[in-house]
C-alpha cells in the first residue's frame, strides 16, 4: 500500500478541508495524522472527503454540514446507516473487514461506528483496555455496576485508575460475531475457554450443565455471589439436584445457634453441628470439581 508520492497526493486532497479546518481548530482534527487513518503514506488511508463526502454545499456555505456528519451533538448529525456506510466503504471487505457487521445486534439497533470510535484522536478510548469499558457502559448501564460487585472479572478500573486488566472485547466482538451475544467465539464455552482452558475438558466425568453452557450457573459481568454465580450455593445446586442430601432444606435453622442445633432449646451445642451443606463453601466443601473430574473416583466431583 506504500507508494512514493502517496503522502503528498493525499495531503493535497485534504488541503481543500484543512485550509479552514487547520491545526488551530478547537476540535482535534489534525491529530488524525497521528493515527492509522491519517498515515498518508498508506494509499488505503482515507482523506477527509472519503469519509465526510465531497461536501460541495459545505465548501460553498460552511454553515451547512458536510455530506456525512459524525459529530454526536451536531444538529446536522447524519443517520447511523449513512455514517456507517462511510466506514464500510473500506471496512466491509477491504481493510480490517467487519464481515459480520450487517445484521449484527449493534447494526440492527442503529449503532454507528462513530458512536464508539473517534478516529481523529490518537488514543481512542474504545481501543484502550483501561478505558474501553467506559465507552461500552455508555449504553450498557447494568454491566457497569455489575463490574463493581464483590465478585467480578477485572473489568472495572480500580486503585490508581491506570489499568483495567480485561476489556469487554476480550469476550465480545462488537462488530458482529458468529457466537451468541456477540461473543468472540462460536459458543459461550469456547469463549470462556480462551482464558479458562483448564475447564474445557473433555473430562472423564462431565457435568451436564457445564458442557451445555457456562452461563447456566455463572453471570460473567459480576455477581453478589462469588464466584460469579447466578445465585448462592447450596441453592444453585439444589435448583437441579433433589436426590440424596441434595433434597434437604437449608435455612437459618441450620446455622450456628439455629433451631436445628437446639431442638426445643434442649439439645446442646456440643452435640450437634450446623449442617455442612449450609456452612462455609456449602456443597463445594466436598463436591469441588464441578467443572469436571478426571479421577476414576471422581463421578461425584469429589476427586
Amino acid at each position: 500500500a506504500q507508494q512514493v508520492g502517496t503522502a503528498k497526493a493525499l495531503l493535497d486532497k485534504d488541503f481543500v478541508c484543512t485550509t479552514c479546518h487547520d491545526a488551530s481548530s478547537p476540535k482535534k482534527i489534525f491529530s488524525i495524522y497521528q493515527t492509522r487513518h491519517g498515515n498518508r503514506a498508506d494509499a488505503r488511508a482515507p482523506g477527509c472527503m472519503d469519509c465526510h463526502g465531497p461536501s460541495d454545499k459545505h465548501i460553498k456555505d460552511p454553515g451547512t454540514g458536510t455530506d456525512v456528519v459524525f459529530t454526536a451533538k451536531s444538529k446536522h448529525l447524519s443517520a447511523a446507516d449513512d455514517r456507517n456506510a462511510s466506514c464500510l466503504k473500506c471496512h466491509d471487505s477491504k481493510v480490517l473487514p467487519r464481515t459480520n457487521w450487517m445484521g449484527s445486534q449493534h447494526q440492527a439497533r442503529g449503532v454507528a461506528c462513530s458512536d464508539c470510535h473517534n478516529i481523529h484522536v490518537p488514543d481512542q478510548k474504545v481501543m484502550s483496555k483501561a478505558t474501553q469499558a467506559e465507552v461500552c457502559f455508555t449504553c450498557h448501564k447494568a454491566q457497569r455496576v455489575q463490574t463493581r460487585r464483590i465478585s467480578s472479572h477485572p473489568l472495572a478500573v480500580t486503585g490508581l485508575g491506570t489499568t483495567a486488566k480485561m476489556s469487554c472485547s476480550d469476550c465480545h466482538n462488537p462488530h458482529g460475531a458468529t457466537g451468541p451475544t456477540l461473543l468472540v467465539k462460536n459458543t459461550v464455552n469456547e469463549t470462556c475457554s480462551t482464558c479458562h482452558a483448564e475447564k474445557r475438558g473433555p473430562f472423564l466425568w462431565e457435568h451436564a450443565p457445564v458442557v451445555d453452557s457456562c452461563v447456566n450457573c455463572h453471570t460473567p459481568h459480576g455477581s453478589a455471589n462469588a464466584p460469579l454465580l447466578k445465585t448462592r450455593v447450596p441453592w444453585l445446586c439444589q435448583d437441579c439436584h433433589s436426590g440424596d442430601h441434595g433434597n434437604q432444606v437449608n435455612s437459618a435453622a441450620n446455622l450456628l445457634g439455629g433451631n436445628v442445633t437446639t431442638v426445643n432449646g434442649q439439645q446442646q451445642l456440643g452435640a450437634a453441628a450446623p449442617r455442612a451443606q449450609t456452612g462455609a463453601r456449602a456443597c463445594l466443601n466436598c463436591h469441588v470439581l464441578v467443572h469436571g473430574s478426571n479421577h476414576p473416583a471422581g463421578a461425584k466431583f469429589q476427586r
Binding site: R148, T162, V211, G243, N294
Partner: protein, 878 residues
C-alpha cells in the same frame, strides 16, 4: 503567522511520547482492595508508565511507525506492549501482561507444605474431639472439629447410651474427656497459620500481520500464558465413617499456549478468510495430596502424626483444542450481502488417570477423550427498499463427544472399597462383579444446536423504526455409546418473537422500547436419565427373581428412581428388593453409594420448559446544550411452569438514570443511579423413606404427639413415619433476592477553571443486599425421649425453616487525579484513592473454630477494608 500555523500543525500531528515515574503509598494491606490492581500490600510502591512513539511523520512517504508502551511497572499488574510496522505492508506486535488476583489474606491451615502439592499435618497433631456419648458408651470423645474451641468441646452433652440408667440425661464431661479435648485444642490451634492465597497470570503475546498485496495477507499470533499461585479448594475424606472436609491450599501451576494463523483475501465485493486456532493447556501439578486430619486415635488424645491417612485429589488434566475455520462475505449488490462462517475443531484429553486402592476397577489408563466441535453459520442481509432491511440467518453448532464409555469402580473419598454382594461374577452379570461401593459409567455429553432466525426492520418515517424478528432453536442432547439416554431433555424446541420500536421523537429526545417472548418446550423430559451413570441398573442382582433388573421393574411400573408415591404400603418380592419400604430405588441395586435419582417433577432449569419475557426500554433527552439525561429500565422473567421442584422463576429488573452537565467548556459533571433487583425461587422436598416403625425408643409412637407442624395434620409419630414420603410439611421453598443500589459521580475538567490543572474525580458507592427467605422445614426426633419418659412427651419436633440473615456488601471508592502542567512538556500528577468495603456474610460462620463438626476451620473472614492510596509522579512529554 505562517510559521506559527506550521508549528501548530506540527504539534498537532506529531505523536507525543511520555514517561511517568513516581511513588505511591498504600495505607493498609487488604487483599480484596487490591484484588486486581496490585495494591494489596501496605507501604510504598513505584509508579512507572511510559509511552514512546516514533517513526515516519504523517507527511512522509514512509508508513513505518513504532510504539512501545509500559504501564504499572511498579505493581504486580504491570504490562508492556509494542508494535512496529509499515502500515498496509507489515506489522509486528509483542506484549507482556501480568495479572495478580488476590483471593484471601485471612485463610489459615495447619497443613504444612502450602505452596507445594504435598501437604502434611504438623508433628504432634491430635484429632480434635468433643465430649460425647454413643449408643454403647456414654463417656467418650467424639470426632469433631468443633472441639478446637474448648468451650464447645467440653460442653455438657446428652447421654445417648440406651442401656444407661440416665439415658437422655445431660452429662458433664469427665476430667479425662476434658483433658482429651483440651490436649487436642492446645496442640492443634497454634498450628493454624496464615497462608495468603493469590494467583498470578502472566501473558505474553507475539503477533504479526503481512500483506502480500492489497488483496492477500497473512496474520498470526502466539500467546503463551503461565498461571501460578495458590487458591482454596474443598476436599472430602471418608476414612472415619463419615464425611470430613478440609479446605486445602490448592497449587496452581499451568501453561496455556494459544495460536492463531489466518490467511485473508480482501476484495472489492467480498472477503474470505481461512484460519487456524489452537489452544494447548498443560497442568504442571499432577495431583494434590494431603493428610487427613481426622484419622487416628480420638479417645486419649494420642499423637496422630504418622498415622494419618493420605488422600489424593486429581488435578485438572491437560487438553488440546485445534480448530480450522473459514469465513467469507460477499456483496451481491450494495444492498444484499451473504456471510458464511464454518469451523471444525478437535478437542482431546489423554492425561493418565490417578488410580489407587480406592479404585479397584479402572478399565483404561487414560480417557483418550475426543470431542469434535462443528459450527456453521450463514447470514443473508438485504435492503429491498430504502425503508426496509431484512436479515435471515441459520446457525449450527455441534459438540460431538466421541469419548469411549467404560465402567469404573471406586469407593468415595478415600474410603476402603467394599464389594457389592448383589452383583457377583457370573453368567447373568455381563459387566462383572462390583468390587467397590460405586460402579459408574462415564457420560460423554453431546449437544447439537440448530437455530434459524429472520428479522425485519422497517422505517415508519425518517425518525421512527419498527423491528420484528422470529427465532427458532432446537437442541438435541445425547451421550455417545451410553447404554441409555443420558439427557434430561433429548430435544428442546424454543420459539422467540421480538418487537422493537425506536424513535427520535424530537431533536432532543430518543426512545426505544422492545419486548421479547420466548417459549422453550421439552417434548419428553426424561426423569430416568440418571441411569446412564449406573449401568448395573440393567443387570439382575443375585437376589432378584425372574432375572428382573431395577430398570425392568421401573419400566414395568412406570416409575422413576424415586419409586412409588401413593402412600406407604408394604412391598414384597422384587418390588421390595428394588424399592424397600416404598423408598427410592435402592442404591445398592444400581451399584452406587448415593441416591442419585431426582424427585418426580424436578426439572433442571437449563433444559426445562420455560417461558421468557424480556422488556427493554431506554430514553435519552438532551434538555439543553449543557444538560442531558439518560434512563433505561430492563425487565426479565423466566418461568418454569412444569417444574414442581427445582428452579421455578427468576425475575430481574434494573433501572438506571443518569444526568450529564457541562459546567463549562472544559468541565463536566455526570451523576448516575442504578438499581437492580434479582429474585430466584426454587422448590424442594426433604422427604425420607416411609416406615412402619411404630415406636420411638422408650414409648409407643402411636400415642406420642408431634409438635410444631401445621400443614399435614399428623398427630402421632407413626402417622408421620408412614407418610414421610408424602408429608406436605416437607415441601420447602426459597426466594433468593439480591438488591443492589449503585450510584456514582464523575467530574472531569481539562485546564479547569482556566488553570493548568486537569482534574478527574470519580466516586462510586455500591450497596448490595442478599436475602433468602425459606419456608418449609423438617422433623427432628426429641433426643430427650427415652425410657421412663412421660406418656405426654413430644416425640418429634417440626423444625421450621427460617430466613437466612441478610448478606450485605457496601463498597465505596473515591478516585481523584490531578495533573498540573508545570511547563508545556512537564507535569505533576497527583492521585488519591480511597477504597472501603464492609461486608457481612453468614457463610463465614462455618469457617471458624467451633462451628462445623466435619470441616476443618479455615478461619477466613468476610472482606472489610478501608484503604487510602496516595500517589505522586512526574510526567515528561516529548
Amino acid at each position: 503567522a505562517h510559521t506559527a500555523a506550521a508549528q501548530t500543525a506540527q504539534e498537532a500531528t506529531k505523536p507525543i511520547s511520555a514517561v511517568e515515574f513516581g511513588g505511591t503509598d498504600v495505607s493498609d494491606g487488604a487483599y480484596k482492595a487490591g484484588e486486581y490492581n496490585g495494591l494489596q500490600n501496605k507501604g510504598g510502591l513505584g509508579i512507572g508508565h511510559f509511552d514512546l512513539r516514533g517513526g515516519a511523520a504523517y507527511n512522509d512517504d514512509s508508513a513505518l511507525r513504532w510504539r512501545i508502551k509500559g504501564a504499572d511497572l511498579g505493581l504486580d499488574t504491570r504490562s508492556l506492549s509494542g508494535e512496529v510496522g509499515a502500515q498496509g505492508v507489515f506489522r509486528f506486535n509483542f506484549g507482556f501482561d501480568q495479572l495478580r488476583r488476590n483471593r484471601s489474606d485471612s485463610y489459615q491451615t495447619p497443613l504444612q507444605g502450602a505452596g507445594s502439592n504435598v501437604l502434611t499435618l504438623p508433628g504432634g497433631w491430635q484429632v480434635p474431639t468433643i465430649a460425647g456419648s454413643t449408643a454403647t458408651n456414654n463417656v467418650v470423645n467424639v470426632l469433631s472439629a468443633r472441639g478446637l474451641l474448648t468451650t464447645i468441646g467440653t460442653a455438657r452433652y446428652i447421654n445417648t447410651q440406651t442401656n444407661s440408667a440416665t439415658f437422655t440425661g445431660l452429662l458433664t464431661p469427665t476430667a479425662g474427656q476434658i483433658s482429651s479435648v483440651s490436649a487436642a485444642s492446645l496442640t492443634d490451634v497454634p498450628a493454624f497459620q496464615n497462608y495468603n492465597l493469590h494467583t498470578t497470570r502472566t501473558k505474553f503475546d507475539l503477533a504479526f500481520d503481512y500483506s502480500f498485496d492489497p488483496r492477500w495477507g497473512v496474520s498470526g499470533e502466539f500467546r503463551p500464558e503461565h498461571k501460578d499461585g495458590v487458591k482454596p479448594m474443598g476436599t472430602v475424606s471418608r476414612n472415619t465413617g463419615g464425611d470430613i472436609s478440609t479446605i486445602i491450599p490448592d497449587v496452581v501451576d499451568t501453561n496455556t499456549y494459544q495460536t492463531d494463523m489466518r490467511v485473508n483475501f480482501r476484495g472489492a465485493k467480498g472477503f474470505a478468510q481461512a484460519a487456524y486456532y489452537g489452544s494447548i493447556f498443560k497442568n504442571n501439578v499432577p495431583f494434590m495430596q494431603w493428610q487427613n486430619w481426622a484419622t487416628g486415635p480420638t479417645a486419649t488424645g494420642a499423637i496422630n502424626f504418622g498415622t494419618a491417612v493420605v488422600n489424593t485429589m486429581s488435578s485438572t488434566p491437560g487438553n488440546q483444542f485445534h480448530q480450522f475455520s473459514g469465513s467469507g462475505g460477499f456483496n451481491f449488490s450494495p444492498t444484499a450481502k451473504l456471510v458464511v462462517n464454518g469451523s471444525v475443531a478437535r478437542n482431546t484429553q489423554n492425561d493418565s488417570f490417578l488410580a489407587d486402592s480406592t479404585t479397584p476397577v479402572v478399565p483404561v489408563s487414560s480417557l483418550n477423550g475426543l470431542v469434535i466441535n462443528q459450527s456453521f453459520t450463514v447470514k443473508f442481509n438485504a435492503r429491498p427498499a430504502k425503508k426496509l432491511s431484512l436479515t435471515a440467518g441459520y446457525k449450527y453448532d455441534n459438540r460431538d463427544n466421541r469419548t469411549a464409555v467404560h465402567v469404573f469402580q471406586y469407593s468415595d473419598a478415600g474410603e476402603a472399597p467394599a464389594a457389592n454382594t448383589s452383583f457377583v461374577a457370573g453368567p447373568s452379570n455381563p459387566l462383572g462383579a462390583v468390587l467397590a461401593q460405586n460402579a459408574n459409567a462415564n457420560r460423554a455429553y453431546s449437544k447439537k444446536t440448530n437455530q434459524a432466525n429472520g428479522e425485519a426492520d422497517f422505517a415508519l418515517s425518517s425518525r421512527q423504526w419498527l423491528k420484528g424478528s422470529y427465532e427458532y432453536e432446537r437442541n438435541n442432547r445425547d451421550c455417545y455409546s451410553s447404554w441409555i439416554s443420558c439427557a434430561d431433555a433429548a430435544i428442546t424446541n424454543e420459539h422467540s418473537l421480538r418487537a422493537e420500536y425506536r424513535a427520535t421523537l424530537s431533536d432532543d429526545l430518543t426512545v426505544r422500547v422492545g419486548y421479547t417472548y420466548s417459549a422453550r418446550r421439552t417434548p419428553n423430559y426424561n426423569e430416568n436419565a440418571f441411569l446412564a451413570l449406573v449401568p448395573y441398573t440393567n443387570v439382575s442382582p443375585a437376589a432378584a427373581t425372574g432375572g428382573a433388573t431395577a430398570y425392568s421393574v421401573m419400566v414395568a411400573n412406570g416409575w422413576t428412581g424415586w419409586g412409588p408415591a401413593s402412600g406407604y404400603a408394604a412391598t414384597t418380592g422384587n418390588m421390595n428388593m428394588f424399592f424397600p419400604s416404598n423408598n427410592a430405588l435402592a442404591n445398592a441395586m444400581y451399584g452406587n453409594l448415593n441416591r442419585i435419582s431426582e424427585l418426580p417433577g424436578m426439572r433442571r432449569y437449563y433444559a426445562a420448559d420455560r417461558n421468557r419475557d424480556k422488556i427493554r426500554t431506554s430514553a435519552t433527552w438532551q434538555a439543553t446544550d449543557e444538560l442531558s439525561f439518560q434512563g433505561n429500565v430492563d425487565y426479565n422473567k423466566d418461568h418454569y411452569a412444569d417444574a414442581i421442584y427445582g428452579l421455578q422463576d427468576t425475575n430481574t429488573w434494573a433501572a438506571n438514570v443518569e444526568g450529564m452537565y457541562a459546567v463549562a467548556t472544559d468541565l463536566s459533571l455526570s451523576v448516575f443511579y442504578t438499581y437492580e433487583d434479582l429474585t430466584a425461587g426454587s422448590a424442594g422436598n426433604t422427604y425420607t423413606a416411609n416406615s412402619n416403625t411404630a415406636t420411638l425408643t422408650g414409648a409407643l409412637a402411636t400415642t406420642i404427639g408431634l409438635s410444631g407442624n401445621s400443614c399435614d395434620g399428623f398427630t402421632t409419630l407413626q402417622q408421620r413415619n408412614n407418610n414421610n414420603k408424602l408429608d406436605p410439611c416437607l415441601n420447602w421453598f426459597t426466594d433468593r433476592i439480591d438488591k443492589v443500589n449503585s450510584a456514582g459521580v464523575t467530574l472531569m475538567g481539562k485546564e479547569a477553571w482556566d488553570t493548568k490543572l486537569d482534574l478527574t474525580g470519580n466516586f462510586i458507592v455500591t450497596r448490595a443486599r442478599s436475602d433468602n427467605t425459606v419456608t418449609g422445614g423438617n422433623w427432628a426426633n426429641n433426643l430427650l425421649m427415652g425410657p421412663g419418659a412421660a406418656p405426654t412427651t413430644t416425640a418429634a419436633y417440626f423444625i421450621a425453616a427460617s430466613a437466612l440473615p441478610t448478606v450485605s456488601t457496601d463498597t465505596y471508592e473515591l478516585r481523584l487525579n490531578g495533573r498540573y502542567a508545570v511547563t508545556k512538556t512537564q507535569a505533576l500528577h497527583l492521585a488519591y484513592t480511597y477504597m472501603r468495603m464492609t461486608s457481612v456474610d453468614w457463610m463465614y460462620e462455618g469457617m471458624q473454630f467451633g462451628s462445623l463438626s466435619g470441616i476443618l476451620p479455615s478461619n477466613e473472614q468476610p472482606f472489610n477494608y478501608s484503604v487510602h492510596v496516595f500517589g505522586v509522579s512526574y510526567v515528561l512529554s516529548f
